[in-house]
């Protein structure tokens, strides 16, 4: 658990983070969102003490981070940044194994761990372990960046706009992968972005920041249905609020089990937003719902989307 208590960060006369308090439970996927300069990155950098707060306290599992030795603190926190920061003179294997190397793992174990993580991030270990970063696409580099952050199996992962430089397709793929990694390994993730769709897709809780202050911390549904003020309302977007709400729920939660439907099939894990989009595109008011193997599960009607 990460506890941020009345934390303020001043740079000279300007205040980057202003009396911010936030508790992030273990296993939570917390997304900090806000406009540029809202102080989001500073919050992350104070958690691993790359920035030292001017006042207030940050505790991880009850331990004050400013009292822990820096190296020890940072080696148990994964850190992923938008600019990736792979070491260009090291191979992928050595980059991924950077923290294990610092921790003094045996070479064979480090390499095996690097291979395991690359495979988990859909990079064939045989093809990538001995390549250099500049030989990789940006998307592949960021996969390596994530693998590097995960190498020593930290409980906490800090991600600072990790997908900001990626094209939309790579971005979505990596969002799905990081969501999967977080779920299956019970990591606590603190993720900074300025993209509300990304926040809604990933977060179990969203913390909205504006001018250094925490405006609202709530689940995606709460944020959409009860925005705290106009700033949050603008951030979530007034025009497509309904679509965003639909994006939060999966088809399987609203479908009519067992009912046959003539329409084109939709995966049960798809969002209601996708269901609506398909109905509009296909000009129909019902769709068949199938499981991952394509077996029919039921149907979803246009009316089901309107139920609250």
């Amino acid at each position: 658990m990460i506890e941020i208590e009345h934390v303020t960060q001043r740079y000279g006369a300007s205040v980057a983070v202003d009396d911010l308090s936030l508790e992030i439970a273990a296993g939570e996927f917390c997304v900090i969102i806000g406009t540029s300069g809202a102080g989001k990155s500073t919050v992350l950098r104070m958690i691993n003490q790359l920035a030292r707060q001017s006042s207030g306290a940050i505790r991880i599992d009850g331990e004050d981070v400013s009292r822990l030795p820096l190296a020890q603190l940072r080696r148990r926190i994964g850190y992923v940044i938008q600019s990736i920061g792979l070491f260009p003179h090291w191979t992928v294997a050595r980059n991924v194994g950077a923290v294990p190397e610092l921790l003094g793992w045996p070479k064979a174990r480090t390499r095996a761990r690097a291979a395991e993580l690359l495979a988990a991030l859909k990079l064939a270990p045989g093809a990538f372990l001995d390549r250099y970063p500049h030989e990789l696409s940006i998307g592949q580099q960021q996969r390596v960046g994530i693998a590097r952050a995960l190498a020593a199996d930290p409980d906490i992962l800090l991600m600072d706009e990790p997908f900001g430089a990626l094209d939309p397709i790579t971005r979505q793929a990596l969002q799905a992968e990081i969501a999967e990694i977080q779920r299956s390994n019970r990591k606590t993730v603190v993720f900074v972005t300025h993209d509300m769709d990304e926040a809604l897709r990933l977060a179990s809780r969203i913390a909205v920041m504006d001018q250094g202050q925490l405006v609202q911390a709530a689940t995606p549904l709460e944020l959409l249905s009860a925005p705290a003020n106009d700033f949050v309302r603008d951030l979530v977007g007034r025009d497509d609020l309904g679509l965003k709400l639909l994006g939060l729920a999966a088809v399987e939660r609203r479908m009519r089990p067992g009912e046959p439907a003539p329409g084109p099939p939709l995966a049960a894990g798809a969002s209601l937003r996708e269901a609506l989009s398909r109905m509009v595109a296909e000009g129909c008011d019902r769709l068949a719902v199938v499981d991952a193997e394509g077996r029919p599960l039921g149907a979803i009607h246009l009316a089901d989307l309107l139920r609250r």
Binding site: R75, G85, F87, P88, A98, L102, H134, R148
Partner: protein, 249 residues
């Protein structure tokens, strides 16, 4: 094998060795080239001895300049030394502005004739390219890499050793290359204060209007500069081939 036979570094080194070994036997050649000269061959010191003295002076002064220069560059690129950055740059630039001859002239009354005034003059003269390129090389390491390294719990010393110096190495070695080559040439002047270098036959040759002496000093010096330049070029290519120093983009 054919690659090695075409290697210019190999041939230049062989030529220099042969020159040093054969120079004492070259009297008939220079006598034929310069028939008017009473003493066509410089015989006060052997060419090999002078070459060794030359290398010793350049090696010692460049070695000291590397330690001092790279050390200073590392210091002023740390937060603790940032304040001294412009001071160091100024001092080093002044060191480069004084002609070595002037430094020699000032040094001799203080520490006397011989190796040491030459050593100091060359050390000062060789600092600028090393400090300049080392600072530029260290500055060119992207801040995001330092950030990533720090974020994973690397100590400042480890960041310097494992990230900054390896990435700055091509620039640093480039600066050392320039500095050493300059000093090979400048070391000839050091003979005016009694350092035994290949400059000795040149100075005496100039004084005595003996072009043969001048050639017997100048040719080995030129060849030595070529050998060292090729060797540094080789080192840089090896570095570049082994690592891929362009930040991925």
């Amino acid at each position: 094998m054919t690659m090695r036979l075409r290697d210019p570094l190999l041939w230049a080194s062989l030529a220099l060795t042969a020159l040093a070994a054969l120079m004492p036997h070259s009297k008939p050649l220079f006598a034929a080239l310069f028939p008017g000269l009473a003493r066509p061959l410089f015989e006060l010191d052997g060419c090999a001895d002078l070459l060794a003295g030359h290398l010793l002076l350049v090696g010692a002064s460049s070695g000291a300049a590397i330690l001092l220069g790279v050390g200073a560059a590392i210091f002023v690129t740390r937060p603790a030394g940032a304040e001294f950055r412009s001071l160091v740059a100024t001092i080093v630039a002044i060191g480069q502005t004084f002609p070595p001859v002037a430094v020699l002239a000032v040094a001799v009354p203080v520490i006397g004739f011989g190796f040491y005034p030459a050593f100091i003059a060359l050390l000062l003269y060789g600092l600028l390219p090393i400090v300049d390129t080392a600072i530029a090389g260290l500055d060119a390491v992207p801040a995001t890499l330092r950030d990533a390294a720090r974020g994973m719990g690397m100590s400042e010393g480890a960041i310097l050793r494992k990230v900054e110096l390896p990435l700055a190495a091509p620039a640093i070695i480039g600066g050392i290359r320039i500095s050493v080559i300059i000093n090979v040439g400048t070391a000839t002047v050091a003979s005016t204060v009694g350092a035994r270098t290949l400059g000795l036959p040149i100075i005496i040759g100039l004084d005595a209007a003996n072009p043969a002496y001048i050639l017997q000093g100048a040719i080995p010096v030129a060849l030595l500069a070529i050998v060292l330049d090729l060797a540094f070029g080789r080192l840089l290519t090896a570095l570049q081939r082994r690592r891929h120093s362009r930040p991925g983009g």
